[in-house]
């Protein structure tokens, strides 16, 4: 399938606006290459390609807001490819047609199907010249010709149900078996509508109750359309086109903060409704950690100084690795622990609201690496340059409100995660230690966790582990 769809960049995202194309038609993209910058209700993010191929055309214009799952571009494995019939194993390449790997690669790059070329080399082998000739000859006819399958998308098609990533995610969320659904999409692919249609109405309700269509009138009034409503090939309510949000980099506006607030609000109310939270707190003894950090910072130029958050995050990541009940997702009515620790970091945006992008594999980073990535992540979060994976895959989120001066913060779990860690500000406190009263640095750590997955005993062990790890800061 060659449609590149608006991805879901978090459980609370319903639609996104394409604000920039990072490729142009004709570009060859690999899996993971950045394709576009998308503005969600929360922030602007770069999204990457899920497939490899040639960007054939854009299906939406810059400034268009479309729902998650809407095709926004076509990326063809080769320009000559058409979707294969669903669930029918594709034909083997003609036995006589052979091409050495470099030639196949060239053919792939040029969008030529080697199976359709008669080779002029020894034993009917396809040569570079044959491929180049075929590429030159194909031109416009290539797309119309029903070419046989090229070698790229073949292997998975036979034993996997064709579906969009969104449909798969939705199916996983709703507990629907993709195999059991007849797809109505291109090539028999299962679409998200198919998935929704397969869900009994009772279960479907919560999914659809999500945040109301936003009040268009105010926004349209305070933001006269910067771009004329475009003729997107996608049906969308007329008000959305007029709802031109600020361009990237512009000083922010109230409406953005308002939609962000709505998105957060609806997700948090879902979290509070569905997740049985329990709450714990403990006071971390930070004497050793702060002394170590202050000593380390004296030796460092300002550009590589650490902040207390870096130590707290690293200790949290290590503890999450050891207590997996805090780290993973609750989906399909069951907990799936995550082997990797992608630590979500709640970042307050300066115009209001927050996002919680992930520090990937935080448990494996050195403190310096973690600090660098934290600065990079926070900077990009505020500049609106986050990437899709950073928004979509945190396995456990930390909120550090201590900077704003509170002593403790009890977070609301970000579904489908199963725990949220909160850190208050680092204070000097009177502290009894070895029978003596002294002054030590301390901070309150809290845990909000999902009672379907863990209980106070595990949660308490997790918080205690964070404290233990912070007693040996040099080993973090």
């Amino acid at each position: 399938m060659d449609e590149f769809r608006m991805p879901s960049l978090g459980a609370d995202m319903e639609h996104g606006k394409v604000v920039e194309w990072l490729v142009k038609p004709g570009d060859y993209v690999h899996k993971g290459d950045l394709v576009a910058a998308v503005d969600t209700d929360k922030t602007v993010m770069d999204i990457e390609s899920f497939q490899e191929g040639v960007v054939a055309e854009f299906l939406v214009d810059i400034g268009d807001t479309v729902d998650v799952g809407t095709p926004i571009a076509r990326i063809t494995a080769t320009p000559a490819e058409i979707p294969p019939p669903a669930r029918i194993p594709p034909p083997e390449p003609e036995p006589g047609t052979k091409a050495p790997p470099p030639v196949r690669h060239l053919a792939h790059t040029l969008g030529v199907d080697v199976g359709r070329i008669s080779g002029s080399g020894p034993g009917g082998e396809v040569t570079r010249a044959d491929v180049e000739r075929a590429a030159a000859a194909s031109g416009t006819s290539a797309r119309a010709a029903p070419a046989a399958e090229s070698d790229v998308p073949v292997e998975s098609a036979a034993h996997r149900v064709r579906s969009s990533p969104l449909a798969r995610r939705l199916a996983a969320e709703l507990g629907v078996d993709l195999q059991a659904i007849a797809g109505t999409g291109p090539g028999g692919a299962v679409t998200e509508e198919d998935v929704l249609a397969a869900v009994p109405p009772r279960e479907r309700a919560p999914k659809e109750e999500a945040p109301s269509k936003r009040a268009p009138s105010e926004r349209a009034a305070e933001e006269p359309a910067e771009a004329p409503p475009s003729e997107a090939p996608v049906a969308e309510p007329p008000h959305k086109a007029a709802e031109e949000a600020p361009r990237r980099g512009r000083k922010d506006t109230g409406s953005k903060a308002e939609t962000l607030r709505q998105a957060i609000g609806s997700l948090m109310s879902r979290s509070k409704k569905e997740i049985p939270h329990y709450y714990l707190s403990t006071t971390l003894d930070l004497a050793a950690a702060m002394a170590w950090m202050q000593g380390a910072n004296q030796q460092r130029p300002v550009s590589s100084r650490l902040v207390p958050s870096a130590l707290l995050l690293k200790a949290t990541a290590l503890a999450a690795k050891e207590v997996p009940d805090m780290n993973g997702f609750f989906t399909k009515g069951a907990f799936q622990p995550s082997a990797a620790v992608h630590l979500g970091v709640a970042v307050a945006l300066r115009h209001g609201g927050l996002v919680a992008p992930a520090l990937h594999d935080a448990d494996t980073l050195t403190l310096d690496e973690l600090m660098d990535q934290l600065r990079d992540l926070v900077g990009r979060a505020r500049a609106g340059r986050l990437q899709r994976a950073e928004m979509a895959d945190p396995t456990l989120t930390v909120t550090n409100l201590g900077d704003l001066g509170v002593e403790s913060v009890y977070g609301v779990i970000y579904p489908p995660q199963v725990a949220m860690v909160g850190f208050g500000k680092v204070l000097e406190q009177p502290w009894a230690h070895n029978g003596m009263l002294g002054i030590r640095h301390a901070a309150i750590a809290t845990l909000s966790a999902d009672h379907r997955v863990s209980d106070g005993l595990r949660g308490g062990r997790f918080l205690a582990r964070i404290d233990e790890l912070l007693q040996k800061p040099g080993e973090l």
Partner: protein, 80 residues
């Protein structure tokens, strides 16, 4: 460095780190963390920008002295 240069440097650095802060909010008594809502990473970045633009490196031990706009201006003027 005289105080006026220092104030200018501090204003420019704050504009870089917290572009949404209105210049009007930059009265001398404004506390960087509480009033201007700089978090620890913003604050670190501010210290870094000031070191780049003025050559004044503020060690961590002196952070309490630079908690307000005026404190920072005085510090930069005194060390630049």
């Amino acid at each position: 460095m005289n105080e006026q240069d220092a104030r200018q440097a501090v204003g420019a650095a704050l504009g870089k780190v917290a572009p949404d802060v209105e210049p009007g909010d930059l009265n001398g008594g404004a506390r960087l963390r509480q009033d201007l809502e700089l978090d620890s990473l913003d604050f670190l970045r501010l210290v870094e920008v000031i070191a780049e633009s003025t050559g004044v490196d503020i060690p961590e031990a002196d952070y309490p002295a630079v908690a307000t706009v005026d404190g920072l201006v005085t510090y930069v003027a005194g060390h630049g």
